[in-house]
Subunit: 205 residues, 2 copies
């Protein structure tokens, strides 16, 4: 059976859990505690030299790292990844946007605030994340004015990936009040058949 | 004909040029001057609300953003993207690694040093990029001890993407002396049939 190594306080890990639930893919979840340094042990670094969760270990021992690459791996040949080359590239475009223009602001601000307790020596960094985070939210909001999901009328892994940290953006100080289309999109995803919340995913491990 | 909007001082733009040359894909290159603010004009923001190059405009007007998504789009059904689902996901894993763990250190340090002239008020930021950049280079170096290219024995868009900023890493203060496998890999890529250098790409526009 496929093993996923992850920590469900991380949106990058939760997005894998969410897709596996939506696809009803059986898996073993191996808890790795980021805050306890478990991504930096020799055993873990042997699996992922970059020292990050999530990773997936296939039944033959092969490893795959990077949350959005893992989403693509599992979504292949499913309804969550279009087969048309342009639409598939649009999905990928959102996945790269997520890692470069969204996660470094919203996820990092959330981490500093929620898990480190906003210590004095990280406050300037936390503040510096707000502008970039709102810029990313505005790009999402403007897209969702035009279509129900990020790439057209159907839920794809672009939505699953962006949902992970967007729906908890308030924990990084980002009020979604000014983003009504994002709020509707969150509600739409949360009522999808097979949806599992971050809290429920966490409490099940 | 497909149009590419880009600035060839940027490795993210150069990687598209390199792939298009390797694939002999005819295209029109539209120069966008980053340093002159041309990614922030209303016309450009209408094409990419995220205000970044490169973007591709297809002949029917559809737009695609994010350099690594563009690489996937053009590499589809070519030798530069495996068809096997796991190997394709491995390529994607390197592309996400590039945008999250490599580019924000090496490309940003290069930008501060080479294009901004290492001003005093960015020196601390420049210094702070060194550790992460070397960490990324070590991950690449260790992989290239095992195989000629990042995903096995054949050149893929993983190599093209990582090559773009790695081969000019010294411009960001990263000496490649301690990375002999990276240096060999750079030489291997530079002697590939159809290869175009960043300088030659720049001077042809």
């Amino acid at each position: 059976m496929v093993k996923v190594y992850g920590d469900l306080i991380s949106g990058n890990c939760y997005k894998i859990k969410l897709l596996l639930e939506l696809l009803s893919i059986e898996h073993e979840w191996v808890d790795i505690d980021i805050l306890e340094g478990e991504t930096q042990t020799p055993d873990f670094l042997a699996k992922n030299p970059n020292g990050k969760v999530p990773i997936v270990e296939l039944s033959d021992g092969r490893i795959l790292a990077e949350s959005n690459a893992i989403l693509c791996f599992f979504a292949q040949d499913s309804n969550y990844l279009p087969t048309d080359n342009y639409l598939k590239a649009k999905v990928l475009s959102w996945l790269f946007f997520e890692q470069y223009s969204h996660e470094p602001y919203i996820a990092v601000a959330r981490y500093i605030n929620l898990y480190l307790g906003l210590p004095d020596d990280r406050k300037a960094e936390y503040e510096s994340k707000q502008e970039g985070g709102h810029k990313a939210l505005k790009v999402i909001e403007d897209t969702l004015k035009q279509s129900a999901y990020l790439v057209g009328a159907k839920l794809t892994i672009a939505d699953i990936s962006l949902f992970a940290y967007t729906h908890v953006a308030h924990q990084g100080g980002f009020d979604l009040y000014d983003y009504p289309n994002i709020k509707n999109w969150i509600a739409r995803i949360e009522t999808t058949t097979g949806f599992i919340s971050m809290d429920k995913a966490k409490s099940s491990h």
